[in-house]
C-alpha cells in the first residue's frame, strides 16, 4: 500500500481563477439579496437565508448527480479521471449538504419554532449527507486505487435510488417544509425581484460548485501523479 500522497504548495492549473470569480460573484449576489431585494412581509429578515439555503441544496444535489453519473461512467469506461471527478464532487457535495443542514435550522427556529423536524426534505438531505459521508469513509478505507474506484462507483450508483426511496417514504409522513415556489406546474409564484435574486444565487452556486470541484480535481490529479512518482522511485531504489 502506498502512503497517501500529500501535495504541498500551490495546486497546479487554472482552477483558482474560477474559484476567485465564484467568490466575487457570491459576494455580489449577497449584496443584491440583502440590500436590493425586498424583505418578505411575514418572515422578515429570516427569509434572506433562502438565498443560501436553496442554492446550497441545488449544488448538493448537483454534486450527487455528478457522483452517480461519473460512477456509472467509470464502471463502463474504466477511466480513472471519472473516479477522481466523482470523489472531488462528493467532497464538495458534503460541504454544500452541510451548508443546507446548518442554514435550515437557523431559519426553522424562528419560523417553525423548532430547529429540526423529520420532514421529507430534511430527512432526504440528512441521508444524502450520510451517503456522501459513507462514500468518503469507504474511499479512505480502501488502499488499492482500482479497487477503491470500483467500490466507490458501486456505492455512488446504489445511492441514487436510495435517495429517491427515502424521499418517497418520508413523504408518506406529513410534510411541513415550505412547498416549491419556483419549480411547480403553475409557474413561479415567488415575486419577481426575489425570483431574480434566487435564480442569480443558484447560478452563482453552480459556478461555485464547479470551481471547487475543478480545484479539488486538480489536487486529486496532483496527488495521484505524486503517488505514482513515489512508487516509481521505490522501484528504482
Amino acid at each position: 500500500m502506498t502512503e497517501p500522497a500529500r501535495v504541498t504548495g500551490a495546486v497546479p492549473g487554472r482552477s483558482h481563477v474560477w474559484l476567485w470569480l465564484a467568490l466575487a460573484l457570491l459576494a455580489g449576489v449577497y449584496v443584491r439579496a440583502l440590500a436590493f431585494t425586498p424583505v418578505e412581509r411575514v418572515q422578515g429578515l429570516a427569509q434572506k437565508i433562502f438565498y443560501i439555503h436553496v442554492p446550497s441544496a441545488w449544488a448538493a444535489f448537483l454534486a450527487f448527480i455528478v457522483v452517480s453519473a461519473c460512477s456509472v461512467g467509470y464502471l463502463v469506461l474504466k477511466d480513472q479521471r471519472l473516479d477522481l471527478i466523482a470523489a472531488s464532487s462528493a467532497e464538495v457535495g458534503v460541504v454544500f449538504t452541510s451548508g443546507v443542514l446548518l442554514t435550515g435550522p437557523i431559519w426553522a427556529k424562528p419560523i417553525w419554532g423548532a430547529w429540526w423536524t423529520w420532514d421529507a426534505r430534511l430527512t432526504s438531505t440528512l441521508f444524502l449527507w450520510f451517503i456522501f459521508f459513507g462514500y468518503l469513509v469507504m474511499r479512505s478505507a480502501v488502499g488499492e486505487p482500482g479497487q477503491r474506484a470500483r467500490y466507490s462507483s458501486v456505492l455512488g450508483i446504489l445511492g441514487a435510488p436510495l435517495v429517491v426511496f427515502i424521499h418517497v417514504s418520508v413523504t408518506l409522513f406529513r410534510t411541513t417544509h415550505p412547498q416549491p415556489v419556483v419549480l411547480k406546474p403553475q409557474g413561479p409564484t415567488l415575486p419577481g425581484e426575489m425570483l431574480t435574486t434566487l435564480l442569480l444565487s443558484v447560478a452563482v452556486f453552480t459556478v461555485f460548485y464547479l470551481a471547487l470541484t475543478a480545484r479539488r480535481y486538480a489536487l486529486a490529479k496532483a496527488e495521484l501523479a505524486r503517488a505514482q512518482a513515489l512508487a516509481e522511485g521505490d522501484h528504482a531504489a
Binding site: 480502501v142 479497487q147 450508483i157 435510488p161 436510495l162
Partner: protein, 226 residues
Amino acid sequence: MRELLAQAAAVAAKDLLLELRSRTAFLSMLAFTMLVLAIFNFARDPTAVSASDLAPSTLWITFSFAGLLGLNRGFALERENRAIDGLLLAPLSRSALYLGKVLANLAFVGAVEAIALPAFALFFNVPVLPVLGPLVLVIVLATVGFVAVGTLLSAMAVATRFAELMLAVLMLPFLMPPVSAAAQITARLFSGRPFAEQVGWLKILVGYDIVFVILCILVFDWTVEE
C-alpha cells in the same frame, strides 16, 4: 435461468453446510437477538411507555441490527485462506455467486427472525398470532430488501479496514426505507388496523426489493473483480 438458480443453490448450500457444522455465527446471532429484545424492555420507563407502544420499534431495530451482524459472515469466511479465489475460478457466473450468498444470508437471517418472533411476542406481550400472515409477509419483504443490499455491501466492506464498522456505516442509510415502512405497517397491524390500509407502505417495500435486487445483481461483478 435454471442453471443460474442451480448454481446459486449450490453456493447457498455450501454456505449453509459450513454454518450447520459450526453453528457459531447462528448461535451468537440468536443470543444477540434475545439480548437486544431483553435490554430494550429495560430501556424504557414502564410507567410512561407501555411495552406494546415500543414493540414495533423494538422488533425492527432488533431485526435490522441482527441482520447487520449476520451479513458480514458470508464474505468474511471467504476471505480466510482466500477461499474467494476458488469461488471466482469455479465455473459459476458472478450473478449466481451473488444470488447464492443472498439465499444463504436470507436463510440465516430468516432462521434467527423465526426464533426471535415468538420470543418477541412473549417478552412484549403482543398478540402476534391474529396478524401472523400479514406480519410474516412484511418481515419477508423487508428482509429480502436489506439482505440484498447488505450482501452486496458486505462483499466490499470485508475488503476494507474496520470491516464491521464499515458495513454499519454503509448499510444503515439503506435500512431506512424498508425499516421505516415495515415498522409503520407492524405498528398498525398491532393496533388492529386493516392490512388493506397499508398499501402505500407495501408499495415502498416491494419497489425497494425489485429495484435493489436487480441493481445489486447488475453491479455485483465489480465488487469481486480482482
